[in-house]
Structure formats: structure tokens, C-alpha cells
């Protein structure tokens, strides 16, 4: 670890280091408090009637006596809103699972083709991967929307999922990871009579597992939270994903804020749990592009 501000290990801990340590740690405690603040305020608000949010806005209110579980009881109860909410939840789960699975499989093979062989077009193809990162998606979304109508993928899960499968950053990450793997394995397997495709599936895939974990989580986060493209593609309320569904509850009359606030908090949960479990991989995954430059 590169220590920039600290003393060397060999030196005994001085008073100054200890004080510095207290201040440095306190700084991050404060920063984290600021970061958690809105979510914490939202969590507190989810135990109060939604009408209060409309009338008063959102603020930290620690008064326990006015808190109730009503919003959550309603959210998990048997009523039209609850049915709708969990339908969106289910749709989001399906779309997230499918797109993560497809993205990982496809991007693995593409990256494999871009890093395990030497051929003329290799660098050009990789350049194209990078080029797709250079144009913001927002510019392409209108023609893509028209294209989806033309090929009848509008208002389908396929229309939401397919355009995102060949994600440039996922391909990029897999490629970076594979560059560190020994290519001698390939030749050894070829001598043993393995086919090119057999090598990719049976030999290289198992040793690429950590990359799958890292990219899987990042894809899941992206897919679970995606808004813009699903908002354009999905038309019927029965196909909405959770963010799109929650967005429809934002009416000026605010008659749905009970479900909105409790549903929002419950909607963060799955991705937060996954994050806590796989935290280490996420940080590896998201930072690969930053180091190699």
C-alpha cells in the first residue's frame, strides 16, 4: 500500500500520528454520514404516512412516537398497489437475471476472441469496441427506439435486454483480465485434441471466474437501476421494471407516496445485499479501466 501522508512502519507510533489518525478517521465518518443522510431520511420517512412527505418535504425526523409500520404492511398486504409493486419487482428480477447471464456469456466469448488469437483484424475490432464507448447512448436512443418499433421488439423484455448484451466495458474488462492468463494452456490443450471452442469453454472459462463475479455484479447493478432505455421500450404497465413503475407513482397529487417511499427503500435492498457480499469484486471490476488508462 502506498502511504503518502503517514510515517514509516518502523517508527514507533507518535502522539502526532495518533491524533492524525483520529482526525482522518473522523473525516470519513463525517463524509459517510453525509452520504447516508438522504437514504436514512428516506428510511425514517417510510415509517410515516406518505401525505406527510407531500405536506412537509423530506427531513430527518427522529420522533419515534409518530412512526408506524403501516406503509410496509400495506406494501406487503393484499391490495392492488401491492400486486402492482411486486409485479414490477418480479419484472426487474427477470430482466436483471437474463441480461446478466447473456451479457456475461456473450462478452466472455467476444473478449476471448479478441485476446487469445493473433489475426489481422484483431486490433481494428478492439478499436471498434472502444469507439462504441465514445458516443453517449443518449444520442443513439431515438434511432434505436425507431429501430425497435420496426423490428417489433418494442414493449418486450427482449427489446430492453438485447441492445445491451455486448457491453463495451464488459468486453474490455474480460479482455484485460484474460491478457494476464498463460496462453501456453491453449497449445497444450490443442495437442491434447481439444477443439478451439472446447478450450474456450472447458479450460479458459473456469479460470476466468473472478472476472465473471466482478462483471456480473456491475451488470446486475446497471440492469436493476436502468431507467432511460426501459422507459422508452416498455409501454404496458404490466411489463414495467421497478424504477419505471416507481416513477409512475410520482403524481402531483401524491396519493401514492406510501407505496413510493416504502417501495423505494425495499427496492434498494437486493442490490445492497449483493453489494455487501461481493464488495471486493465490485471495486476490482469498476477500476480496471482507470488504472490501465
Amino acid at each position: 500500500m502506498a502511504g503518502n501522508l503517514d510515517m514509516k512502519d518502523s517508527k514507533p507510533k507518535t502522539r502526532a500520528t495518533k491524533i492524525g489518525s483520529v482526525f482522518a478517521t473522523a473525516f470519513f465518518v463525517l463524509l459517510c454520514a453525509l452520504i447516508i443522510f438522504p437514504v436514512f431520511a428516506g428510511l425514517l420517512a417510510s415509517f410515516r404516512p406518505g401525505t406527510e412527505l407531500i405536506r412537509r418535504g423530506l427531513a430527518i425526523n427522529l420522533d419515534v412516537s409518530t412512526m408506524t409500520l403501516d406503509n410496509y404492511k400495506y406494501l406487503f398486504g393484499k391490495n392492488a398497489d401491492s400486486v402492482k409493486y411486486f409485479m414490477w419487482y418480479k419484472n426487474s428480477l427477470i430482466i436483471t437475471l437474463l441480461s446478466v447471464a447473456l451479457t456475461l456469456i456473450v462478452c466472455y466469448f467476444v473478449a476471448y476472441g479478441l485476446s487469445m488469437y493473433n489475426y489481422k483484424l484483431k486490433n481494428f475490432l478492439f478499436f471498434l469496441v472502444i469507439a462504441t464507448m465514445m458516443v453517449p447512448f443518449e444520442i443513439l436512443m431515438l434511432p434505436m427506439y425507431k429501430e425497435m418499433i420496426k423490428i417489433h421488439l418494442i414493449d418486450t423484455y427482449a427489446g430492453v435486454i438485447i441492445p445491451g448484451i455486448c457491453g463495451a466495458s464488459t468486453i474490455f474488462f474480460f479482455k484485460q483480465y484474460m491478457q494476464g492468463l498463460p496462453k501456453e494452456l491453449l497449445d497444450a490443450a490443442r495437442i491434447d485434441g481439444c477443439t478451439e471452442y472446447g478450450i474456450a469453454v472447458k479450460i479458459m472459462l473456469p479460470i476466468t471466474k473472478p472476472a465473471f463475479a466482478a462483471m456480473g455484479i456491475l451488470c446486475a447493478m446497471g440492469s436493476w437501476n436502468a431507467i432511460l432505455w426501459p422507459l422508452l421500450v416498455l409501454k404496458g404497465a404490466e411489463k414495467f421494471t421497478l424504477p419505471i413503475g416507481l416513477n409512475t407513482l410520482l403524481t402531483p397529487y401524491g396519493n401514492n407516496y406510501d407505496v413510493l417511499i416504502a417501495g423505494s427503500m425495499f427496492g434498494i435492498l437486493p442490490i445492497f445485499i449483493i453489494f455487501l457480499i461481493f464488495q471486493k469484486y465490485i471495486i476490482d471490476g469498476m477500476t480496471v479501466g482507470a488504472v490501465k488508462g
Binding site: 500500500m1 502506498a2 502511504g3 503518502n4 503517514d6 510515517m7 514509516k8 489518525s21 482526525f23 482522518a24 478517521t25 465518518v29 463524509l31 452520504i35 447516508i36 438522504p38 431520511a41 412527505l53 412537509r56 418535504g57 423530506l58 427531513a59 456473450v106 466469448f109 467476444v110 476472441g113 479478441l114 488469437y117 484483431k122 475490432l125 471498434l128 469496441v129 453517449p136 443518449e138 444520442i139 443513439l140 434511432p143 425507431k146 429501430e147 438485447i162 455486448c166 471452442y197 447493478m221 437501476n225 431507467i227 416507481l246 410520482l250 402531483p252 423505494s264 434498494i268 442490490i271 445492497f272 453489494f275 464488495q279 471495486i283 477500476t287 479501466g289 482507470a290 488504472v291 488508462g293
Partner: protein, 300 residues
């Protein structure tokens, strides 16, 4: 048949088979929409037919006051994010990387929390905090500081502040993690050598950390320019829809969405998109050239 099988399984063919999905996806979901966008920007697109109108859309854009407002908003927002989301996360990362901080894992995880939260959720929370009622959190805060209350989302300055606060909230942790991984790649012996030469913390930061973390800085700068210019959802959620008083929250992509989806004027919206693309590419190419990215031969 046997010949085809042999061809398919040969070492020459295999890489192309592997890369095929990307080539298809590239053609269908990148080249095609990109060229459609450019072509459509020269057209007046109706329900049935599309008429070629040359540069008329672009001429209209030159005079379109709302578009100018949107451009200005996006530019201000982008500059704000660059000023706030590069130096501070870098300093935080340096501090986090020192041995002074205890329980690092906890802070890193918590700082990442906003990135896990959908913009729909975080945008709603912030909109409710930026309410104009004196009981909203931001007004509670400003009252505590003796500044009185603000109609946050109805005034230009406070609106931009609100957008930047949301952006800082979402990305400080992520950018800090980028810088942190960049710091890990710096050779520790350089700092040790500097210690022997009697360099102080500030000198080490200036002469070792800043130059050696440059690849990461350029990466963060590049993605921040794109993200800043293409910002839309944050504004969409803060104003609960795509309209804000006097367009104070309108961005370039917001205007593209308004024209293309809400008003169904695809040709004009595509012209907005093409202008955005040209601006974003130009700024980034200039920035990358100025930073000498293209000079050094990148290792494969």
C-alpha cells in the same frame, strides 16, 4: 460438409466466430442508429414519410433560445462536476490510502451506496429534501445557518446547486475508488526514496502522486465530460418530469427527449443529438491531445 466443419473448427476461423456477436451488435445497435441519427437530423420526419430538408434543422437550432438555455445548463453542470468531482475525490483517496484511516472497508462500502441507488429513488429523495417548504431538510439547514429559506427548484442558481449536490452525492465515492486504485499502482519505493531525500507530504503529493496518477485522472475526466454533457435523469427526477420553471433544469438530452419523444419531432431531436455528439467528441479529443494521451504508445 466435412470441409465446412473443418473450416469452422480451424484456428483461423474460431476468433471470428467468437467475435461475431459483437460485430452483429455493433452493426445493429451502433453503426445503424448512429448513421440514422445523422441522416434523420437532415430530415423532417412525419408519421408516414420523411422529407429531406438539408440543414434546416441545424439552422433552426442556431436560433432556438430554448436549445441555447439547455446547452448553457449542460455546460455549466459539466464544468461544475469537473471542479467538484476530480480534485476532492483525489484528495479523499490519498487520505484513505494513508495508514491513518481506520476501518477503511466500512467507509469504502458506505461511499459506494449512492451508486447502488437508482436515480428514480435518489432523485425522489432529493426532490423532497429540496422542497420550498420550510420543513424540508435543505431549508431546515439554511435556516439553521441563518440564511432563511429558498425556493430551491424555482431559481436558477439554487437549481444548479441542487443538481450538483445530487451529482456529488452520487459520484464522490465512485471517483474516489477510481483514484484509490490508481494510487495502488504507484510504486511504493518512490515514496520511500522521497522520504530519504527529506521530502514532505505536500512535495510527495505534488511531484509523485499527481504526475503518476495522471492516467486515472484522464480516465475520470473523460467519463465526467461525457456524463456531464449527457446528464438528463437527475434533472428529470428532481423536477418530477421534463419541465422546470423557465427551463432552469433543462439539459441537452432533456431537450432531445422533449423534442423526440414528447413532441415526436425526431428529425429535430436527432439534430440536437448530433450537436451534442460533436461537442462531446471535440472537448474530449482536445482534452486527450492536451494531456498527451495519443503520444505515448499504449501497450497491448
Amino acid at each position: 460438409m466435412k470441409g465446412f466443419r473443418k473450416f469452422l473448427y480451424s484456428q483461423k476461423t474460431a476468433p471470428y466466430v467468437f467475435v461475431l456477436p459483437f460485430i452483429l451488435s455493433f452493426a445493429i445497435f451502433w453503426i445503424y442508429p448512429l448513421f440514422s441519427a445523422i441522416i434523420m437530423s437532415f430530415q423532417d420526419i412525419g408519421a408516414i414519410s420523411a422529407d429531406w430538408i438539408g440543414f434546416a434543422n441545424y439552422q433552426k437550432l442556431l436560433k432556438d433560445k430554448v436549445f441555447h438555455t439547455a446547452m448553457l445548463n449542460s455546460a455549466e453542470y459539466m464544468l461544475g462536476t469537473l471542479l467538484l468531482l476530480i480534485p476532492f475525490p483525489l484528495l479523499f483517496a490519498v487520505l484513505m490510502d494513508s495508514r491513518l484511516v481506520k476501518a477503511k472497508g466500512v467507509w469504502k462500502a458506505l461511499l459506494y451506496l449512492p451508486a447502488l441507488t437508482s436515480v428514480v429513488i435518489s432523485g425522489t429523495l432529493f426532490r423532497l429534501m429540496f422542497t420550498e417548504y420550510p420543513t424540508g431538510q435543505m431549508n431546515v439547514l439554511t435556516q439553521m445557518l441563518g440564511l432563511g429559506t429558498f425556493k430551491w427548484l424555482k431559481i436558477k442558481t439554487t437549481s444548479m446547486a441542487a443538481l450538483l449536490i445530487v451529482c456529488c452525492w452520487r459520484w464522490t465515492g465512485v471517483n474516489m475508488l477510481y483514484f484509490l486504485s490508481g494510487l495502488k499502482a504507484i510504486d511504493v519505493s518512490l515514496y520511500e526514496a522521497a522520504d530519504i531525500d527529506g521530502a514532505n507530504g505536500l512535495q510527495k503529493f505534488k511531484f509523485i502522486t499527481i504526475p503518476l496518477i495522471k492516467p486515472t485522472t484522464i480516465y475520470v475526466l473523460t467519463i465526467s465530460i461525457y456524463a456531464g454533457l449527457a446528464m438528463f435523469l437527475e434533472s428529470y427526477m428532481l423536477w418530477a418530469g421534463n419541465s422546470s420553471p423557465n427551463n432552469i433544469g433543462l439539459t441537452i438530452v432533456g431537450y432531445l427527449y422533449k423534442r423526440g419523444i414528447e413532441k415526436n419531432d425526431m428529425g429535430y431531436a436527432c439534430a440536437v443529438g448530433v450537436v451534442l455528439m460533436i461537442i462531446a467528441l471535440t472537448i474530449n479529443v482536445v482534452q486527450l491531445v492536451a494531456n498527451g494521451t495519443f503520444k505515448s504508445d499504449k501497450e497491448d
